[in-house]
Amino acid sequence: MITKSYIREQLKQVKDPEIPTISIVDLGIVTGIDIHENDVHVTLTPTFAGCPALRLMEDMVVNHLNSYNQLGKITVETSFETTWTTDLITDEGHAAIKKHGLAPPIRNCSNITMEVIEATNCPYCDSDNTSMKSPFGPTLCRSLHYCNNCKQAFEGFKPI
């Protein structure tokens, strides 16, 4: 008997192509798993509308689940029905983001102001003595910061 939790567990092995320490499950983008007999339909929600990794992640889900012989037809769709926010990232996901050298997004993303993003702790030394250089970084989901304590430039995962 194939269960949703079984599929969810397997999908933890599919990692974000741009932040390979975090799984798509911990990133919070797997918003639906429907099982009909042995067929599996996975629904993903986009992180950023313009994220180029979106289609890649759809393919990665199909390819990964296809490696399990007991599963039937695998289909994936992207839907905006659930709006992704960084609040959907799990605690495990936060740890994984930090492991990659990025500052995890501040919780409660609905009240974002420049001041809130300014107050990002350094992922290397945990200091709050940091300054934001730009709300736009090398990918859509990252901002640029500098730690005045350990004198290290770092990137943050933008709360959205």
């Binding site: 986009p46 950023f48 509308a49 313009g50 994220c51 839907s79 905006f80 029905e81 709006t83 992704w84 926010t85 993303c109 974002i112 102001t113 420049m114 250089k133 730009s134 709300p135 736009f136 970084g137 090398p138 859509l140 640029l144 933008k158 959205i160």
Partner: protein, 270 residues
């Protein structure tokens, strides 16, 4: 119900007596997506040329956001019977675009790009804020997503407008001159659609007039805080026409550049 109806006619006609709510909805979606595609392309022209590295990255990131968002709106149009996103984006000529003339203007001086970014992005932010509660559910869903993204665009715009508006005499003069030049074009964003009443009565969209009022109420205090002055109201002469396919000489060359690769090889993949 609107959602269940089949599109009767994929071509939009501008005779408001003959327009049904599907046509009116398509017109709304086209103008949103076309504005995003064209401003996205203009933003991308700063890639490699930004005055400082962070600004280069900022305009490039915003370009990626806008073009990505436009694709999702074109997908909604495709679901309503229009051609697929690439065909719609890359095969129309300028007279078929519903974008405002404001977004097609060349990037100009950096002060103009910043002022346009400020005026356009606050309008877009407020448009999507109102569309979050649109009765057309697929549009409400994407609006919730885009709203969070565009918040960063408005924060970025406001930071720079404030710094340069209050900077030194040179920066203030440049920003004020750009605001004066941009103003009537910006008002042109709020050109009413041919059958907007249908959208308002079906709670799909609040209408351009209501949107313009919210926009003015939002940007006026921000500009004042930045020591910048909106032109006197007796001089307001909105530059309309874009929503009906009337464009300046700047749009067609932009489209030719944007579609250059597609025109050579429509099947090219990259």
């Amino acid at each position: 119900m609107l959602l269940k109806q089949e599109a009767e006619n994929p071509q939009i006609t501008y005779n408001s007596n003959k327009m049904n709510s599907i046509d009116a909805l398509k017109e709304l979606l086209y103008k949103i997506a076309d504005d995003q595609l064209i401003i996205g392309h203009r933003n991308s022209e700063w890639t490699g040329l930004g005055p400082i590295l962070e600004e280069d990255i900022a305009f490039s990131s915003m370009a990626q956001d806008k073009i990505g968002q436009s694709e999702h709106i074109y997908n909604l149009l495709h679901q309503l019977g229009e051609a697929d996103a690439d065909t719609v984006a890359f095969t129309r000529n300028s007279a078929q675009f519903h974008s405002s003339q404001f977004v097609e203007l060349p990037i100009g001086d950096y002060s103009f790009s910043l002022i346009r970014h400020f005026l356009f992005d606050f309008a877009e932010y407020l448009r999507f804020e109102s569309l979050k509660s649109s009765a057309y559910e697929p549009l409400a869903q994407v609006s919730k997503k885009f709203f969070g993204e565009i918040k960063y665009h408005t924060m970025h715009a406001n930071t720079w407008v404030n710094q340069l508006g209050k900077g030194n005499e040179e920066s203030h003069t440049k920003m004020q001159d750009s605001l004066n030049y941009a103003w009537n074009y910006a008002l042109g964003m709020f050109e009413q659609g041919p059958a907007e009443d249908l959208l308002i009565s079906e709670n799909i969209f609040i209408g351009e007039k209501a949107l313009q009022d919210v926009w003015l109420g939002t940007i006026t205090p921000l500009l004042t805080q930045s020591n910048l002055t909106i032109p006197a109201q007796e001089n307001w002469k909105p530059i309309f026409g874009g929503r009906f396919g009337k464009h300046s000489q700047h749009l067609q060359p932009l489209l030719e550049e944007m579609t250059e690769v597609y025109s050579i090889d429509p099947s090219a993949d990259w």
